[in-house]
Amino acid sequence: MMQQGVQIDLISEERLSELTSMEKIHMILDNVRDGRIVILEKGLNPEEQSRLIEMTMREILPDGFNGIEIETYPTRDDAPGFLRRLLGKTTRESRLTVIGPANQLRMIRKDRDMISAWVSSR
């Protein structure tokens, strides 16, 4: 009997740094379409995220893959400072990011320092 469950891939910053942007995006999307949860030690930059969303949209099919859930931590400052830095000139570093299939991964709660997610098997 086949064991039921969800595969979670935790990918280190070192491994990610060896990949080009397109390689990262393809790896994420291929894994997520296979029903896996991908956790990146260091998240994508805004351009990469935007390309990931663009490619995700092109993969969506009726009664098939319907997209992704993606969540990451904000920067470490408190809210006003966070938003000030967000639109200021400082460089923001991407942080741990969780990505999964939209029909299996559901974000329950997000805080500045905690993300709660619910994962179901297919």
């Binding site: 930059n45 805004p46 092109r58 993606i70 904000p74 938003l83 967000l86 939209a102």
Partner: protein
């Protein structure tokens, strides 16, 4: 045509291309239901007498990036800008046709709407990375700015050094708090507006002339 006439024509086209002020493409971005299409329609109606797209309660009513070209806005001191307004779909990472069915749309139509919505979001992402010259970032002033802001989109705006105006919309509603949005974005112009009532819309136009001109 003589060689002199051809040469004159070429020089004329070159000079026209060189000196003609390029129109700026201003994208209206923001979360779903912040009032992006309502603003695009108001701008287009106020300055051209036409509209951009329909507004409704059904999610993803704007399913393609809709462009209204050649809108000339005049400021109080008489200076003008000519822009193309690009009304974009609310950015999302998932689209399921069944969500449309919940709003009473038939299945065949829901599948079509879902496909159009995916194309629209992809297009909006592409526009922001490649083709937009300035952004009006719409936020709902009745909601917490921290929960509405899209870090990725702000990151792209920042990395491309695009001029941005934050529009704190829905100030006509009783629980609106545009001050929260102003506090959250101290380094950028924040204009409190009501797109449906037109409140402070002149102030937005003035800011657009100053900021995008």
């Amino acid at each position: 045509m003589s060689i002199f006439v051809r040469a004159k024509s070429r020089v004329s086209k070159f000079l026209m291309a060189f000196f003609r002020k390029r129109r700026s493409r201003i994208g209206i971005y923001g979360p779903p239901n912040a009032g992006k299409t309502t603003l695009a329609n108001r701008i287009a109606r106020d300055w051209t007498g036409e509209t951009v797209g329909p507004v409704s309660e059904i999610p993803h009513e704007t399913r393609r990036a809709l462009r209204k070209q050649d809108i000339t806005i005049t400021g109080n001191n008489g200076s003008t800008i000519t822009i193309d307004i690009v009304d974009t779909p609310g950015v999302t990472t998932k689209i399921d046709y069944k969500d449309f069915i919940e709003y009473g749309v038939a299945k065949d139509e829901a599948v079509i709407r879902a496909r159009e919505a995916t194309e629209g979001v992809a297009e909006a992402m592409h526009w922001l990375r490649e083709d937009i010259d300035g952004v009006i970032y719409m936020l709902d002033s009745t909601e917490d700015p921290f929960l509405q802001v899209n870090i990725m989109m702000i990151g792209i705006i920042e990395s491309r050094n695009l001029p941005v105006i934050i529009a704190a919309n829905k100030i006509d509603l009783p629980d609106a708090s545009p001050q929260r949005i102003k506090s959250a974005f101290p380094q950028h112009p924040v204009i409190s507006i009501s797109c449906t009532e037109g409140k402070n819309i002149e102030e937005l136009y003035e800011q657009m002339v100053n900021h995008f001109g």
